[in-house]
């Protein structure tokens, strides 16, 4: 248990831009597990910039904890930038798939109405089963579970949350900053470490 007050906790969407590097998922994941923080949802995908990956991570924590975690993630060598945002600051979606027996649903439900009301669409219709899909916030995708349960819902799966920060211009511009400073003085080596003789005498 962290000593943070439970009432401080809220959902935070962490966006991480990284180099595409094997092992980085593990490095990022242990930053959470070491502090006993549960990752509610995690998605990794290419970003709009070639060669740069984007992690979307959802956790429920206080802002104080999230700020520190974000710093620790950004400290990893291959991580370019970390942002964290409340739900109000992002546009987010999750996708859900629902499998139901085709005969039941065809016989007993007014399928069209059901789909329209829930903003869903059929992805596959086979003799034995039908798969529907919805995309939306948690409550929205949850809704269709309730509706479909009486018709013998066979299987349900929901994706990780993906989120776009409302107030952001994407990563292209930021990346330019990173590359412009190459090898700008923001990133010079700690050259003093290798000139011991000159600086170490008192």
């Amino acid at each position: 248990m962290s000593n943070q007050n439970h009432t401080d906790k809220q959902e935070f969407n962490i966006t991480v831009y990284t180099e595409n590097h094997i092992g980085l998922l593990n490095r990022i994941a242990i930053i959470f597990s070491r502090r006993k923080i549960n990752i509610e949802s995690l998605n990794t995908s290419p970003s709009e910039v070639e060669g740069i990956h984007r992690f979307s991570i959802l956790i429920k924590e206080s802002e104080e904890v999230v700020r520190k975690i974000a710093g620790q993630i950004e400290k990893q060598v291959e991580v370019l930038k970390v942002y964290y945002n409340t739900n109000e600051e992002v546009i987010w979606q999750e996708m859900a798939l629902y499998k139901v027996p085709t005969d039941v649903i065809a016989e007993r439900a007014v399928v069209e109405r059901l789909l329209r009301e829930n903003g869903a669409r059929a992805v596959v219709i086979r003799k034995d089963y039908t798969v529907f899909e919805t995309t939306g916030h948690r409550e929205e995708t949850d809704n269709l579970i309730k509706v479909l349960e009486p018709y013998g819902l066979i299987e349900f799966v929901r994706s990780a949350r993906i989120a776009i920060i409302k107030d952001s211009e994407g990563f292209h511009k930021k990346l330019q900053e990173f590359e412009q400073s190459e090898p700008g003085h923001e990133v010079v080596e700690n050259e003093y470490l290798s000139s011991r003789e000159k600086v170490f005498t008192m």
Binding site: T18, E19, N20, H21, I22, G23, N26, R27, I30, R34, G51, K68, G71, Q72, K75, V77, E78, V79, L80, F178, E179, E182, P183, H185, E186, V187, V188, E189, N190, Y192, L193, S194, S195, R196, V199, F200, M202
Partner: protein
């Protein structure tokens, strides 16, 4: 994959066909490595084979256990300021490095560890001596990488050195599959790494924070400086001293910071933390401005956080932004290399003498001398104390030795009482508290700074954890002085049992072999003493002996280290007895 760094394209006549293993050795030479600590095995044999042709340029020290190799690498790095280099084979060789990696990570020690790995086509098959060392070491390295293609070796090595030593230094592990070591490829030369797109080792200094810090300091009535190893890691000893002397502020140190300002500097008011000095601990809760420089507010330093310096405005200078505000709320964050930030701050602070405030530290110090120090350093009881051994050592080395301490009571005594005139003279396992550290670290420290006297101060418990490294001393002929303070107990644990567990001495009574005989088996001279009359001469004999020497001093069995901030207490509740 690696980032697309711009490699200087070499013309065909500049390239030569060599093995991955040889490329690795050439990379080490390019990085001006002179010493490697290591232990061979099947998966790293091609590297050792390539090394065989370069033994005139690269000194390889064969240790007796990989833990010894990495602690030696740490001692080398800490004493010299250079990067420590370690070789180990796959599987058990690699896993034996884990303690040292964790130690180096928490104590910010630059290391490049090279481990062999099974052939790439065997990865993940539970092949002979295969372990997933990358995943095992991820939490305890600053960076790690697995190479399965020789072409990657030059670039990966360049990155490894750059990452290990830049910004907040730390350990890096490069795991190289055997096929990559054997593979011939066109080596186009070595380009040191100067930049990694996603890595910012140090920031642009923000002058507004410096100005703000200076303003806070200039208004302070009772400012207090706490410094840590960051001063040394940034090679900012001179800048630090200038700042201290101009501002007139009293300064206290964490054990890893010891030595950055000489022990007898009039503004050096002593050691912080659990077994630190009385004055600096109590007065932490009285100062109005606390200036933390290159230290990380470890819980051994702060005691109870909710009662730590609540009255003070805290200014924190650190190169690692995640340390600023991690444990204590900070009023002015000065993110940067203190080599750059300190001179800017010195420029803006007013020259002052905080005479009355400094005097207060001296008064507390007098109380500590009376209650603890006098009896520890000049005991009236018959038996020898650890403190008087340190006191004698100080007199005979005149404060010029490197003191490498292990972990336990003797460590706290060594850190408290060692006189240090020079920087990089106190080498100890601070953050991890690794018993068994001192003997191999002392070996490494001597290789790192051959012209200095290196004295390892070790407990009877810790010495038995890595005493096989006496074999390394024997074979390499390195000159280290081993001072065993034998209290016939796992003393620090016994102290806690005495104070907090009703003297229930559960498994802390540890027997020792005849250390002098053990040493003699390794061809190392030694002596054991238990009487005060013998101390002076024995130390003299040890220090003047040509080559390594083991001196065992039998000390009081049940002595406690005081002052002490009991766990869960605030620093101002520090106990004198």
């Amino acid at each position: 994959m690696l980032t697309k760094e711009k490699q200087v394209a070499a013309s065909p006549e500049q390239t030569k066909t060599i093995s991955g293993a040889e490329a690795l050795i050439l990379a080490l030479l390019e990085e001006k490595v002179d010493t490697i600590f290591g232990y061979p095995g099947g998966a790293i044999m091609p590297v050792y084979d390539a090394l065989f042709d370069y033994t005139d340029k690269l000194n390889h020290v064969l240790v007796r256990h990989e833990q010894g190799a990495i602690h030696a690498g740490q001692g080398y790095a800490r004493s010299s300021g250079k990067v420590g280099v370690v070789f180990a084979t796959s599987g058990p060789g690699a896993t034996n490095l884990v303690t040292g990696l964790a130690d180096a990570q928490i104590d910010s020690t630059p290391l490049v560890c090279i481990t062999g790995q099974v052939f790439a086509h065997l990865l993940g098959t539970d092949a002979f001596q295969e372990t997933d060392i990358l995943n095992i070491t991820t939490p305890v390295t600053k960076w790690n990488y697995q190479v399965t293609d020789a072409n990657e070796i030059p670039e990966v090595m360049a990155k490894a050195f750059y990452i290990a030593k830049s910004g907040r230094p730390g350990p890096v592990l490069i795991d190289i599959s055997k096929n990559a070591q054997l593979q011939k490829f066109d080596f186009a030369g070595y380009t040191p790494c100067k930049h990694i797109r996603s890595y910012r080792p140090k920031p642009i200094v923000r002058h507004e924070y410096i100005a703000q810090a200076a303003e806070v300091i200039n208004q302070a009535k009772k400012p207090f400086v706490l410094w840590g190893q960051g001063v040394m890691l940034g090679s900012a000893e001179k800048e630090f001293r200038t700042f201290i002397e101009k501002s007139g502020i009293p300064a206290a140190w964490t054990i890893l910071g010891a030595g950055a300002l000489p022990s007898d500097h009039p503004q050096n008011v002593g050691m912080l933390g659990m077994h630190g000095n009385y004055g600096p601990n109590v007065l932490t809760n009285e100062c109005d401005v606390l200036i933390a420089i290159g230290m990380r507010f470890d819980d051994r330093v702060t005691g109870r956080l909710d009662k730590y310096a609540r009255q003070a405005k805290i200014i924190h200078l650190d190169i690692d932004p995640t340390e600023i505000g991690k444990n204590v709320p900070v009023a002015v964050p000065v993110w940067g290399d203190c080599k750059e930030t300190l001179p800017l701050l010195t420029e803006l602070v007013e020259a002052k003498e905080h005479t009355d405030w400094l005097q207060l530290f001296r008064e507390y110090n007098d109380r500590e001398i009376e209650a603890v120090i006098q009896e520890e350093l000049f005991p009236t009881s018959e038996e020898l104390t650890m403190g008087e051994v340190m006191q004698q050592l100080n007199e005979q080395t005149a404060g010029d030795a490197i003191v490498v301490s292990d972990v336990g009571q003797h460590q706290m005594v060594a850190c408290r009482y060692a006189r240090l005139n020079h920087t990089r003279s106190n080498i100890t396992s601070g953050g991890l508290g690794t018993m068994g550290f001192a003997l191999p670290a002392a070996i490494g420290a001597k290789f790192g700074t051959p012209d200095r006297t290196v004295v390892a101060v070790i407990g009877d418990g810790g010495f038995q954890m890595t005493l096989q490294e006496l074999g390394t001393i024997m074979q390499s002929g390195v000159d280290v002085k081993l001072l065993i303070l034998n209290n016939q107990f796992l003393g620090m644990v016994r102290q806690w049992q005495e104070l907090f567990h009703d003297r229930r001495y559960s498994f802390v009574d540890i027997a020792s072999p005849d250390y002098v005989k053990v040493a003699s088996g390794y061809g190392i001279s030694g002596k054991s003493i238990s009487k005060r009359e013998e101390l002076k001469d024995a130390l003299q004999e040890m220090l003047s002996h040509k080559g390594s020497f083991l001196l065992e001093v039998m000390v009081t069995k049940e002595n406690n280290v005081f002052p002490m901030v009991p766990q869960g207490c605030s620093v101002s509740e520090i106990r004198l007895k």
